[in-house]
């Protein structure tokens, strides 16, 4: 090989140091994470959807044409009603058509007869219906969309008591979307702390936590629920019941997480960087939170994005056992529980509508979770 020497521009210590300029890498962690998160289109979209969803939760009264518990015995099992802009080819504004319920003795079916000749204008952004209490104290009757005068507006149908499914679904979001969050917070707080302690310290601490987990895990949920259902005072408001349910859901959920955390930590604590942190004098809490936990983030995020829907549905299961929320509270779980029969599946499929928001919520949380996971992964 011939001796090749590159043109020599002399030695410059500073230049040496500036090995590489990678603006994309050299930013605060937050910025980096956000930047990576943004790359995940679907995640961003879902984040926006969730944010919007949560943002409207306080204002659901305004969005829904009815109050969720208004029932109408003359309009039970009304199928979804169309909203139209054009009548016989002509633009007449937002309208729908009057419908009437007819019970057919022969078939035993309820029929809705729609009169196509008579468009009923649907008022928007006006006051109508029974008054509601925004945030519990602002009384109002202003609504985004109202049923037509002498007519009904069941956008996605009505249920067996003639309650508007759409209004119920919108109201149900309020409890359903928060029950998961509270439950997850409770479960994660306990699970992370206890699992972290056990996994990090090992020894008697691990033994104690493990036994607690075991006992908690092997304690049967079912009788606890049943006992509780008898114990909750009836005159508790829906909010108290709701808070209790979410807390209990959380309390029952933690051991699984704690065990996962523990076992992962048992492995992680042998890593050199954990030892390095110890030798710097870091307190266990710091080691757990700053060194070990981030390396378990992916699992945590995935668990959280799974737990939230699980809790939304867990509430459904509770309703099945009779310990769910009680009327007048409305939640998706309660609505789905109402749909738990053959008729709903076969004849009134719109009763299954609450599955749509549940699926959306599940998907949104999971995709955001995925995106977050990727964003936090320094390797990506």
């Amino acid at each position: 090989m011939e001796h090749y020497v590159a043109p020599d521009r002399g030695h410059d210590a500073d230049l040496d140091r500036q090995a590489l300029d990678r603006a994309d890498l050299d930013a605060p962690t937050r910025v980096l994470v956000w930047r990576r998160f943004r790359r995940h289109r679907l995640g961003v979209l879902c984040l926006i959807i969730l944010a919007l969803g949560y943002a409207i939760l306080p204002f659901v009264e305004i969005l829904s044409p009815y109050n969720p518990n208004d029932f109408d015995e003359n309009n039970i099992y009304a199928p979804p009603q169309g909203l139209y802009l054009f009548h016989e080819g002509a633009y007449v504004g937002l309208h729908t058509y009057p419908t009437a319920t007819v019970y057919d003795m022969e078939t035993g079916l309820v029929k809705r007869v729609t009169d196509r000749s008579d468009p009923l204008p649907v008022p928007v952004l006006t006051t109508c219906g029974e008054p509601y209490h925004l945030f519990g104290f602002i009384e109002g009757r202003f609504r985004v969309i109202c049923p037509p005068e002498d007519g009904e507006l069941f956008l996605i149908g009505s249920d067996r008591l003639g309650r508007d499914m759409f209004s119920r679904m919108v109201h149900g979001a309020r409890l359903s979307m928060t029950v998961g969050l509270i439950g997850v917070v409770v479960s994660f707080t306990i699970g992370l702390i206890l699992g972290g302690l056990a996994g990090y310290f090992g020894g008697w601490c691990d033994a104690a936590v493990s036994r607690a987990i075991e006992i908690f895990r092997s304690l049967p949920e079912l009788p606890i629920w049943l006992a509780l259902s008898a114990a909750v005072p009836v005159n508790w408001g829906p909010v108290s019941v709701f808070v209790m349910i979410s807390i209990i859901l959380g309390l029952l959920d933690w051991p699984g997480l704690a065990r996962a955390v523990r076992s992962k930590f048992l492995a992680l604590r042998e890593e050199d960087y954990v030892r390095a942190a110890e030798l710097m004098g870091a307190k266990p809490s710091r080691i757990i939170w700053r060194h070990m936990m981030p390396n378990f983030m992916s699992h945590l995020i995935a668990s959280a994005s799974l737990s939230i829907p699980a809790m939304i549905l867990g509430e459904t299961a509770l309703s099945f056992l009779g310990l769910g929320l009680r009327p007048p509270a409305v939640s998706w779980g309660m609505m789905l529980n109402d749909a738990l029969n053959l008729s709903a599946v076969e004849i009134y499929p719109w009763l299954l509508m609450p599955m749509v928001p549940v699926i959306f919520a599940v998907l949104a949380f999971s995709f955001v979770g995925d995106a977050l996971r990727d964003a936090l992964d320094p390797y990506s």
């Binding site: 493990s210 092997s218 008898a230 492995a267 668990s303 998907l363 999971s366 990727d374 990506s380």
Partner: protein, 341 residues
Amino acid sequence: MIRFLLRRTVTMVLTLVAVSALVFIIINLPPGNYVSNQIAEMRSSGEAAGVERAAALIKEHSLDRPLWEQYLIWIGAAPGPAGFNGLLQGNLGWSFELARPVAEVVGETAGLTVIVNLAALMFVYLVALPLGTIAAVRANSWIDYIASLIGYIGLATPNFLLALIMLFYGARYFDIPIGGLMAREYEGEPMGWDKFLSILTHLIVPTIVIGTSAAAAVMRRLRANLMDELNKPYVETAKAKGVPPVTRVVRYPLRMALNPFVADIGNLAPQLVSGSVMISVVMSLPTLGPILLQSLRSQDIFMSGFVLLFVSGLTLLGMLISDILLAVLDPRIRLAGREGA
């Protein structure tokens, strides 16, 4: 290792004792007991004769003793009216409601429970592990999205609703039998090929219903954990050795990513028994779940007590197994310099 096993087993037994006490307390939480309720019911239907008979039952099963005494008698640590005759002596108790020994009832159903749950479990792992792995390796590709979507829909549909829908349409369009675990003519027959087939077809819906949401969850977690591991240098080493992709993923990062799942094995038993209660009830599966629910509702304490204890025992056993597996799977845990698991 042997010492570890011994120690774990001893603690397990101690835990089991604690759990049994708790279980006994919990099932006795609601006021009254089966017999006193029965008496109330009989009074209301004017059956005076039954009342006496029931009162005798109370004596016979020491239901009139203080709770702690009842507990001791139940587990066989104290003499009852018939001397020492409790769980420790192999007497599982008497089911008031079914009017037969608990052992008989459990004996019949426990096997079926295990079959259903094993089927569900196999479904979960056969579906979730490959799908989760593919989803992680091909992260953010269409196959990842499709796998996720299916999983999520399974996750977002309440189990029992799914059961109902599947049963109904399955029966109508695919001739899948509704409910039960075998065709009626095989009830009580010895096991044969036809009976086996019949059980298989009956298992389709419950398996899918019980399995989907669990599978979705496992899949998502696996994907997340595996994606963490895929970038580790040791994977690169394997690549440098020329290890083919499947082996490369399965042998190294997958095994590492399984850690949290192995840790979760202990949860399977209670999840599958009490988690599938509703499904079993809805789908009329002759498993422990509905028996448990029914016995809890009617305060058939020896029945529910034993089932609960059984599940607890399984759970503890599961945890023991999971601890052992963890140690087998991860030498760092097994051989860690510090004391601990």
